[in-house]
Amino acid sequence: MTILKYIVLISFIFLLVVFEISWQVFPKGISCVFVLMMVLLLSAVEVEATGKFRLKYALSTAIFGGFILDLYSIFPPGLFFLSILSTFYICYRFIILKFALLNPAERGIHQEFNLLNFLGILIIGIISALVYQLLILFFSYLYYFVRLSDIKILLNELYFANLMRLIFLNGLLTAILFWVILKFKNLRHSR
């Protein structure tokens, strides 16, 4: 049953990437793999707080999504894989576990920064999207300096304007999707 779930997940990721690339109806800049990985990660953490552990689906999305993004990338292999896997680790260890799941008393001024209100989820989504974009920038420069790639991301006004748009779009989409899932779960439990 677990293997079947993995096959479905990987096929879904693959189709998602193909649709994102070839079907021009998605808003420009939305990274479906990143959003899916974040939604699965947040869902896993939310479930984990109640005692279960389902981090493996988010991790699988990061691994296979990274591979598939690298397949269709102009950059050398590994850039998206490393970026999304590092984003997964940083978000899980340093953003979600360090802040979002702390007791409210320990949190101090960050009372609102948790996984139970939309603003908190939105902030986590935006910070994670920023981390992802910065890691892509970091690894692209690393590849450029070790001469694995001759493509250099130019840090001009366009890049920064684009960065703002991307982190907001991806962060917002992550927050909306997770919020919908959360509400749906609550509704099901209340019944």
């Binding site: 193909v18 079907w23 292999p77 590994g78």
Partner: protein, 236 residues
């Protein structure tokens, strides 16, 4: 620890199989028909939708036929060796945009080859090649550089053509004492290894001369069709 070890081995195996032993071809070839079907430039979406809605397949074939004929007409006239390729996707990351073409190394595509539209106007160059697909970097991308010439009254003026903000093309490093007029044609200079001289890039749209500067800057109006679906890769 055991799980981590198994996961690492799986990742390394996947990486080796996909990227070193060309396992990627399974994905590319298998999904090519779906991608070709799905890809439609933003400007043409409504046209295609209308055609699908009215089930007018004949009209669609006619349009495709016209497009291919235009490509062939230009290529026959110029006597270039070429490969026709379909655009199957478009991606953008951190300000860099690229298109996916359904022809790769197995068809003779190499890095640096020029890609033109049905009118023979330069769209960009090949930036990366896999066995069965290639990646086209358009000329209007920030960081795209190509040497170009302006033809003015049978005089050739050279400079560097550079994409800017994915919107315009600028030509730089042209001495201020050279006379250029709006409407002059900008072509490739042939200094790149795989790009021949004389492929049209665009027309001079604006001339920026600063009194203290030794170079003038030209804004070039690109002439390629922005809704390209079929392109020609010019072979050396």
């Amino acid at each position: 620890m055991k799980r981590f070890f198994i996961l690492t081995v799986i990742m390394i195996l996947l990486f080796v199989l996909i990227f070193l032993f060309k396992g990627e071809n399974i994905f590319f070839i298998g999904l090519r028909p779906l991608q070709r079907f799905l890809y439609c430039p933003s400007g043409q979406a409504s046209t295609r939708d209308n055609l699908c809605l009215s089930d007018n397949k004949l009209e669609m074939c006619q349009a495709e036929n016209d497009l291919l004929k235009k490509n062939l007409n230009f290529l026959r006239q110029s006597k270039d060796n070429f490969i026709l390729a379909n655009v199957i996707g478009k991606r953008s990351e951190s300000g860099i945009e690229w298109f996916l073409l359904d022809r790769g190394e197995s068809c003779g595509v190499k890095i640096g080859l020029a890609v033109v539209d049905e009118g023979g106007v330069l769209i960009g160059t090949i930036a990366k090649v896999d066995d069965s697909i290639s990646h086209l970097k358009p000329i209007f991308n920030s960081g795209s550089l190509i040497s170009g010439d302006i033809i003015h009254n049978n005089e050739i003026i050279s400079g560097i053509v550079q994409g800017e903000y994915k919107l315009t093309i600028k030509m730089r490093y042209i001495p201020t004492d050279r006379q250029i007029d709006v409407g002059d044609t900008v072509v490739t200079s042939g200094l790149e290894e795989h790009i021949r001289r004389g492929i049209v890039i665009g027309q001079v749209a604006e001339i920026n001369k600063k009194p203290q500067s030794i170079f003038q800057e030209i804004i070039v109006n690109p002439l390629f069709n922005p809704d390209f679906r079929v392109v020609s890769i010019i072979l050396p």
